[in-house]
């Protein structure tokens, strides 16, 4: 399975390196999107009754990419994205990602996506102390004093409904896709806007 996916990704991403593939007409759209990032959806505790985060929540994120048409119905879409910084209790968190999708459009209104992301989770704070409850008293704990970044590679699947130049996309990002015991899935729901390259050039 591992090798199969690797082979598929290699074929997918190596193809456009050929000079033949880089024609002007192959640049189809500039792609911009805004949406919400549903981190570890349904898998983390949100109250002391044992409920999980399976409600819709808004964590805004933005992406930009260029769509490259391989042939009718098939295209590639590399993009960069940023989940807008969230700060609370002196701790900030940013998520950046660099990703690529292989897109298949069986019908004009529908697009199926298979891709991979390089996700960078950056957590930072500026240090300090905090006194919190411990047992029947209190104790001093420490606020992180630097930035640290975790990186993950994800396997992504998505589906998008398109009308004219706009689309609505539901995508998932499977963390630890090859380790079932630690697998976590993040979802995103976004509104996408495609600007035809011929309008830009």
């Amino acid at each position: 399975m591992f090798k199969w996916i690797l082979t598929l990704l290699l074929i997918t991403f190596q193809y456009p390196y050929s000079a033949h593939a880089f024609g002007l007409q192959s640049f189809k759209d500039l792609h911009l999107s805004i949406g919400t990032w549903l981190e570890n959806y349904g898998q983390v505790q949100i109250n002391n009754s044992g409920d999980t985060n399976d409600d819709f929540e808004i964590n805004p994120y933005l992406t930009a990419g260029l769509e490259y048409e391989l042939k009718p119905q098939f295209s590639l879409l590399p993009e960069v994205g940023w989940v807008i910084q969230r700060t609370e209790n002196d701790i900030s968190k940013n998520i950046f990602f660099l990703r690529g999708d292989f897109i298949y459009s069986p019908w004009e209104f529908l697009r199926l996506r298979l891709g991979t992301s390089f996700v960078m989770t950056s957590i930072s704070a500026s240090g300090g102390e905090d006194t919190l409850r411990n047992g029947s008293g209190t104790e001093v704990y420490y606020i992180p004093a630097e930035r640290r970044t975790a990186t993950n590679q994800t396997l992504d699947l998505g589906v998008e409904y398109i009308k004219d130049n706009m689309g609505v996309k539901l995508q998932n990002y499977i963390f630890a896709w090859n380790e079932s015991s630690e697998r976590m899935i993040t979802y995103s729901l976004s509104f996408n806007y495609y600007i035809p390259m011929k309008d830009l050039l």
Partner: protein, 288 residues
């Protein structure tokens, strides 16, 4: 103005982070795989649990909580029954008596590598039954934790014995969180909140962010990692079919094969895009 307020409201509705650390140096174990052991002399008669049960629950605890975080590289592993006759694990004081606000590791509980779990009946550690367990890295040098101790309340008034299996599991997971460097969270649904609950079935996002901060997963973590490793073993079995080098593909190599072309492709596309744009603009100027 309304739009700005809407945007502000949207940005305000988000997850919150409140994890804290147990040391001011963000100390961590240097190894990404840390073992925990239970002392052989822990009878845990008041806590009502055997040392093998304790080890088993601790294993379930790490597999149910800390080992399930893909953005963290830390993996806690079940060790063994740690052979010792040192009674200080059972009776010693963990935090120095002159600790005013935080737990400065005392010298009375022995230090060791890895994480040592024991049942302890010292009433300075456990002044009342509200304390189910305590723990701290007690072998710390700078930002490096070499060893930590988790002590279960084994005093005659301990409430540990009356806990359900799920509660014992979350108590152990909480203490192991301290052992690897996490402090308390002020979120009452976090595993690292100071009070236990029988409904802590999963980590909160706060716990996940804390362990991710301390032990961030690195897809690329060294120069050799950037290149990946496609190892041709140099010592194939002599002669016969096995003489051909064996191919060993590691995770980083797989990552590079998947992501590097994507990065390259993105750069090429951006470069090409601007080249074409410049060409078009130049042409446009000429026509004018």
């Amino acid at each position: 103005m309304k739009t700005l307020l809407l945007i502000y409201a949207l940005l305000s509705i988000s997850n919150v982070y409140a994890f804290r650390l147990i040391t001011n140096t963000s100390a961590t174990f240097s190894s990404k795989e840390v073992k925990f052991h239970v002392t052989s002399n822990s009878t845990c008669s008041n806590a009502g649990i055997s040392n093998t049960e304790l080890l088993s629950i601790a294993e379930d605890a790490v597999n149910s909580y800390w080992n399930k975080v893909p953005s963290s590289s830390l993996r806690l592993k079940k060790g063994s029954i740690y052979n010792t006759t040192d009674a200080l694990y059972l009776t010693g004081e963990l935090c120095a008596s002159d600790s005013v606000s935080s737990c400065d590791p005392a010298t009375t509980v022995p230090t060791a590598g890895d994480i040592i779990i024991a049942c302890n009946s010292n009433t300075t550690n456990f002044p009342n039954s509200a304390y189910l367990a305590i723990s701290a890295p007690n072998n710390v040098s700078g930002s490096k934790i070499t060893g930590a101790v988790v002590l279960i309340n084994d005093t005659p008034t301990t409430a540990f014995a009356g806990l359900s299996y799920a509660e014992k599991r979350s108590v152990l997971a909480h203490e192991l969180g301290h052992a690897v460097g996490l402090g308390h969270s002020n979120r009452n649904y976090a595993l690292m909140y100071y009070q236990n609950s029988d409904k802590l079935f999963r980590l909160s996002q706060d716990d996940i962010d804390g362990i991710t901060y301390l032990y961030p997963n690195q897809v690329i973590d060294s120069c050799s990692g950037i290149l990946g490793s496609l190892d041709l073993k140099n010592d194939p079995p002599a002669g016969g079919k096995g003489a051909l080098p064996q191919l060993k593909i590691n995770k980083i190599f797989l990552f590079n094969m998947a992501i590097a072309p994507t990065i390259g492709f993105l750069i090429l596309m951006i470069a090409k895009f601007f080249t074409i744009l410049r060409f078009k603009l130049d042409n446009h100027s000429v026509v004018k």
